[in-house]
């Protein structure tokens, strides 16, 4: 892909109506999404929704039956031509019997780096992952978080403009998650656009600019968290009152999960919550606890994909 062909108007990645069928199973059903420049986009969906197939289509590992994929304004062929793309698989796809440095050197070379460029990239990656002092140790001796960091580093040595990560923080402790997202922040500051699949909804909520939810092979919603909430469960807060003893249900409340719980939705907490508390008191109820919750991505996700188990 030529540098001159790239314009700032083009998104980093555009997937249009991509379809893929494996036998009788429809894996992707005209799925479309857009990853903007410098954006961190979360791709969510239940197991079997089509996330992995979509990522593999973008990587060129699965040839779509229909649709097209563009990177930086240029249409990608079904396979190959993805030198500016980075991919980090969900598994620790390293050679466990090589050291961290040897792994980085190998994958850097496989991504086309050589000579001083490769050496610089390896040194940068060791510093970036915080593993310079462990560079000569076999990766099989590393903790889960350290392996994850090397795993990510092996996918970005060639400084891709678009990075795909398949559940990059699965099975790591909170400290390692923080470190991994700090690493991704650094990449983004240098212009890398990031698409990550995850089942950690808090990561998508707090660490991503926008969210795409896919189900049954179709992208069913895309936008910022507030856009998704607005479009699905609505922006109202959920207020739950717990009473000290059973009493009559005041106006504006409905029954909660237990006999002592009352539930209501409010748009403006500051204005409406005192009114609700007053009503409960007037009805003779003694309020022992109040819980106010903003609508969450979890609520949006369940609203859109249901509670039914998928596997």
């Amino acid at each position: 892909m030529s540098e001159s062909a790239i314009t700032d108007k083009d998104p980093a990645l555009r997937v249009r109506d991509v379809a893929k069928r494996f036998g009788s199973v429809v894996a992707l059903d005209r799925a479309s999404l857009e990853l903007r420049r410098g954006e961190r986009l979360a791709l969510l969906g239940p197991n079997g929704a089509g996330k992995t197939t979509l990522v593999r289509c973008i990587c060129g590992r699965v040839a779509p039956d229909a649709g097209e994929i563009e990177m930086l304004g240029e249409r990608l062929p079904p396979a190959g031509g993805r030198q500016r793309l980075g991919f980090v698989p969900q598994e620790i796809a390293l050679y466990p019997d090589l050291t961290a440095r040897e792994n980085l050197e190998a994958f850097g070379r496989f991504h086309g780096l050589r000579g001083p460029e490769l050496r610089q990239a390896v040194e940068w990656a060791l510093g970036w992952t915080g593993l310079s002092s462990r560079a000569r140790e076999l990766t099989k001796t590393f903790s889960g978080g350290m392996k994850r960091r090397v795993n990510i580093a092996c996918g970005v040595l060639h400084r891709p403009l678009v990075l795909l990560l398949d559940e990059p923080t699965v099975g790591v402790d909170p400290q390692s998650r923080e470190r991994i997202f700090a690493m991704l922040d650094e990449l983004r500051r240098h212009g890398t656009s990031i698409l990550l699949t995850t089942h950690q909804l808090d990561e998508a909520e707090q660490r991503c600019d926008r969210i795409v939810i896919i189900d049954h092979g179709r992208v069913i919603v895309a936008g910022t968290l507030s856009e998704l909430i607005e479009a699905t469960v609505g922006p109202k807060r959920r207020v739950t009152l717990r009473l000290a003893a059973p009493g009559p249900r005041p106006e504006g409340f409905r029954a909660g999960a237990g006999p002592l719980e009352l539930v209501a939705e409010v748009g403006d907490v500051a204005l409406e919550l005192p009114v609700l508390l007053e009503r409960a008191r007037e009805a003779g109820g003694e309020v022992s606890d109040v819980d106010v919750r903003a609508p969450s991505l979890q609520a949006v996700f369940i609203h859109l994909t249901g509670r039914e188990l998928r596997e």
Binding site: G60, P78, Q83, V88, P89, Q90, Y95, F107, F110
Partner: protein
């Protein structure tokens, strides 16, 4: 709880039915192969026949009688040119028969030298022994042939003695049948000429070194090629396929690595054979290098094709054990092919163990020049190319779907 341990073990075996089947099938398969190798046919107890060329330099009635009697022995198969179409022949000069033995066409030739009949009758001036030109890679065959010649020549000599006694004594010679007359005769002289082993230290060891080396070359190559399946399992292959590497370069790299390791493995084996058993590696370096490179290349291609065809490492191991042990048994890595029947020898040529071992035998045993390795090199190079292409074709399943 002990019962549950047994139950869990049985259930796991049941869930891995292919491996279970192999546990039972492999011993039966190998028993059958070895029964064919050593028995000719199962249950019939037939011994393999010794291939031999006959040379009659003497050209007398007596020499013809001796060679005809030898040709009539069930244990011997007399050389017949053009695959036996023209029937057995008796050479009149030693040259062609000697060449046949030198080239590995036959293990033995019987030469009745000029003047043998006269010497045998005791009328000649010089003692003249029957010669056996031997490729002593098959020492048992030499012993069998010597015994047969002694037996046949002894019978002829006894018959001659009986005739002489009868001529001298007339009717009163009746009690002297051939058997009784044999007691008055001296043993037949036989000279065994080792035409290949002269000056060589432990020549048979080179054959075993090659046999074992080729078998373990195959095991080593399959072990190395199995890394493809490990890479698939750990998603490393997925990552590699997303890089600039590509499947063709990945397979080429793996093939080169396996070939280099294979060459090193066989070289170390022969270096040990030279150091400990006196195999002359340094004296045959060019031939050894050619055979080792082409054999390691073919083994690497086979291993990669197997790995690309199998779905799991366990499946690869099971298939490799069956295939490699079968090829090694038929191809001469476990038992020399000269002890096998003609049919089994022909079947063995379907394995590249046989071609590799034939090549090494030409180098270390027969001391033939490099150009004599052409058939073996051609077959092994062709096998390497075809199997590598097959591996590439099968590896398409790891590419874009």
């Amino acid at each position: 709880m002990i019962g549950m341990v047994v139950r869990v073990g049985l259930l796991r075996m049941w869930h891995g039915r292919v491996a279970l089947l192999l546990d039972f099938a492999v011993p039966i398969a190998f028993f059958t192969i070895f029964a064919f190798i050593f028995g000719g046919q199962v249950g019939l107890g037939k011994s393999p026949r010794v291939n031999v060329a006959l040379v009659d330099e003497d050209g007398t009635d007596l020499s013809r009688k001796l060679l005809d009697a030898l040709a009539g022995q069930d244990t011997l198969r007399v050389y017949a040119p053009e695959g036996g179409k023209g029937g057995p022949v008796t050479f009149t000069a030693v040259g062609p028969a000697r060449e046949l033995v030198l080239q590995g066409g036959l293990p033995l030739a019987v030469v009745v030298p000029r003047g043998w009949a006269a010497s045998f009758r005791g009328t000649g001036t010089d003692a003249s022994d029957i010669q056996i030109l031997a490729d002593s890679s098959d020492p048992v065959a030499t012993q069998v042939l010597s015994a047969l010649i002694r037996q046949v020549a002894g019978q002829i000599r006894a018959e001659l003695a009986r005739q002489q006694i009868e001529a001298m004594l007339g009717p009163s010679a009746a009690p002297f049948n051939a058997s009784a007359a044999a007691r008055f005769t001296r043993p037949v002289g036989i000279e065994v000429v080792e035409i290949l082993a002269a000056g060589k230290a432990s020549p048979v060891v080179s054959m075993y070194a090659a046999g074992i080396a080729v078998m373990f070359l195959l095991f080593g190559a399959v072990g190395g090629a199995g890394s493809l399946l490990e890479e698939e399992e750990s998603q490393t292959l997925e990552r590699l396929m997303c890089s600039s590497l590509g499947m063709t370069r990945l397979l080429a790299g793996k093939w080169l690595l396996l070939t280099i390791v294979g060459v090193a493995q066989v070289t170390v084996m022969f270096a040990w054979a030279q150091a400990v058993f006196g195999v002359d590696l340094l004296g045959h370096l060019p031939g050894f290098a050619v055979m080792t490179v082409v054999t390691a290349g073919a083994a690497s291609s086979l291993a990669l094709a197997l790995a690309a065809a199998c779905r799991t490492r366990a499946q690869l191991n099971a298939v490799a054990i069956v295939l490699i042990l079968t090829m090694s048994a038929l191809g001469g890595s476990m038992v020399p092919r000269y002890v096998m029947s003609g049919t089994m020898r022909e079947v063995g040529r379907l394995t590249f163990n046989a071609w590799a071992l034939d090549g090494y035998t030409k180098v270390f045993w027969r001391g033939l020049p490099l150009r004599a390795l052409l058939p073996e090199v051609a077959v092994l190079v062709a096998a390497a190319v075809v199997l590598l292409l097959l591996a590439r074709l099968l590896a398409r399943r790891w590419e874009s779907v």
